[in-house]
């Protein structure tokens, strides 16, 4: 119920300060972002960091910026901000869909996209959405400076990412869509409203002027070892019109292809049912957005 004793606490104001604090705090120390997951783990004593480097005062890690090459979301941007911004509408709208349904108001006021990515819990939304949207992550450390990691290399397994403990996630970059007819969407099912996803689906669709799908990305969260993209869906969708039947066929192909697990929340079979039905609906929604419908 209470965290184990903490020896040191740092509240840096800049990225540079944060990295130096990390160096001072030592190997077992931990960065803390919104804290929605780490605090649970600390209170359950599953995580016992002797020192914390709190990122909540680092202004440079907050906000989002739109540029010609895409959108940069800083990791300490909170769900609430992502849920209400119109800057992501269209190609990056899945982020807003997900952010608006993470946890609850209080969680959205505190939780951050970067924290979620670095935690990479199985039943989470942001890793899945970022996988679908082909994010590129920028990590920095005192030892190695800056490095860039594509999202599919970043997400490794349950509570496991390519981030080294001394590295700080500083940017999440989403590529600009090739042209206007691109949109994404996200939905999940967790049993109770807005709860952790048993299955979450993110999809991004590109269409031509006639509404025919030219490309698609589709990813599934809530499965082991981590969120997974199903690129085979492009074979079903490319060159075809966006009809309910086509989306159903595509989502069924995904459900068939993706391996799911059984646990006390749902069976492997039911997870496939959810991939099929949510997948179809998410594709339809993304398509509707892409075609301005």
């Amino acid at each position: 119920m209470y965290p184990a004793p903490i020896e040191a606490y740092f509240a840096p104001r800049t990225i540079d300060e944060a990295l130096h604090c990390r160096a001072e705090a030592g190997d077992d120390s931990s960065f803390i972002a919104g804290g929605m997951s780490l605090m649970q783990a600390m209170k359950a004593r599953l995580a016992t960091p002797p020192a914390l480097i709190d990122l909540n005062e680092v202004e440079e890690l907050r906000g989002l910026a739109k540029g010609p090459r895409g959108v940069t979301v800083r990791p300490m941007t909170r769900y609430r901000e992502l849920a209400v911004t119109t800057a992501l509408h269209g190609a990056m709208q899945a982020i807003g869909d997900a952010a608006a349904t993470v946890g609850d108001r209080q969680v959205r006021n505190a939780g951050t996209i970067g924290g979620s990515l670095c935690w990479n819990y199985v039943a989470s939304c942001m890793p899945n959405v970022c996988l679908c949207l082909d994010a590129t992550l920028v990590l920095v450390s005192l030892d190695d400076g800056e490095r860039t990691v594509p999202i599919d290399e970043f997400l490794i397994g349950p509570l496991e990412t390519a981030r080294r403990d001394d590295e700080l996630l500083v940017e999440i970059n989403f590529p600009a869509p090739k042209y206007r007819g691109v949109a994404s969407a996200y939905r999940k099912y967790g049993g109770t409203i807005d709860s952790l996803p048993i299955i979450g689906i993110a999809a991004l669709i590109e269409v031509d002027e006639a509404g025919v799908c030219t490309d698609v990305r589709f990813s599934v969260g809530g499965i082991l070892p981590t969120a997974q993209r199903f690129d085979g869906i492009g074979d079903v969708l490319r060159g075809r019109p966006g009809t309910p039947e086509v989306f159903a066929e595509a989502a069924s192909a995904a459900a068939e292809a993706i391996e799911t697990q059984t646990d006390h929340l749902a069976s492997a079979h039911y997870r496939k049912v959810l991939i099929r039905t949510l997948g179809r609906d998410v594709l339809a929604e993304a398509h509707a957005r892409a075609t301005g419908g």
Binding site: A4, P5, A8, A11, G35, A41, R105, A110, I193, D194
Partner: protein
């Protein structure tokens, strides 16, 4: 392992030397003696009974360390409206019988008060979604939803006011 912090709670600055691991909710309850903020979870932060406002935003104070609130403005239920001068939301809660045992009520009020600032004319569905982070076991929620709807600015014919100083800006 300790740090001296100053947290302004309901306008009063509390300077205390606290263990680094002290939860904000325990700081509020034990160090400030403000016991209107309640605890209903172990570690999961799900029930919402500990909800307070930090910088004008609703947060679960069991999911924060006290040191993280150093230098911040915190508002608890005790700062919402006094016994002799209940605010509009508190009055509506009484009128609509939106509380029974009252244990979850502080957290609901602190969340709903912020919600009603950002949504001055919510629908029933929006109110219900806004309450996901606050579990209530007594009321079945219907009266709570009615009370929040009744307290909304538009229902009251009140012009929305800009958020007070100290509210964290949206970005």
């Amino acid at each position: 392992m300790e740090k001296t912090i100053t947290v302004t709670v309901n306008g009063t600055a509390y300077t205390r030397t606290v263990p680094l691991r002290l939860l904000l909710v325990d700081f509020i309850r034990d160090d400030c003696g403000l016991t209107g903020t309640h605890i209903g979870c172990t570690y999961e932060g799900r029930c919402g009974a500990c909800t307070v406002q930090i910088g004008g935003r609703a947060h679960k104070s069991c999911m924060k360390l006290a040191v993280q609130a150093d230098g911040k403005e915190v508002t608890t239920i005790e700062g919402l409206g006094s016994r002799d001068n209940l605010n509009r939301l508190q009055q509506a809660f009484s009128r609509y019988h939106a509380l029974q045992c009252g244990f979850c009520t502080s957290g609901i009020l602190m969340n709903a008060a912020e919600f009603l600032k950002e949504n001055i004319n919510p629908s029933e569905a929006e109110v219900r979604r806004a309450l996901v982070g606050n579990l209530c076991r007594c009321t079945g929620y219907s009266h709570i939803v009615e009370a929040i709807l009744a307290a909304s600015a538009v229902r009251h014919g009140v012009k929305p006011v800009p958020p007070p100083a100290g509210t964290e800006p949206d970005r």
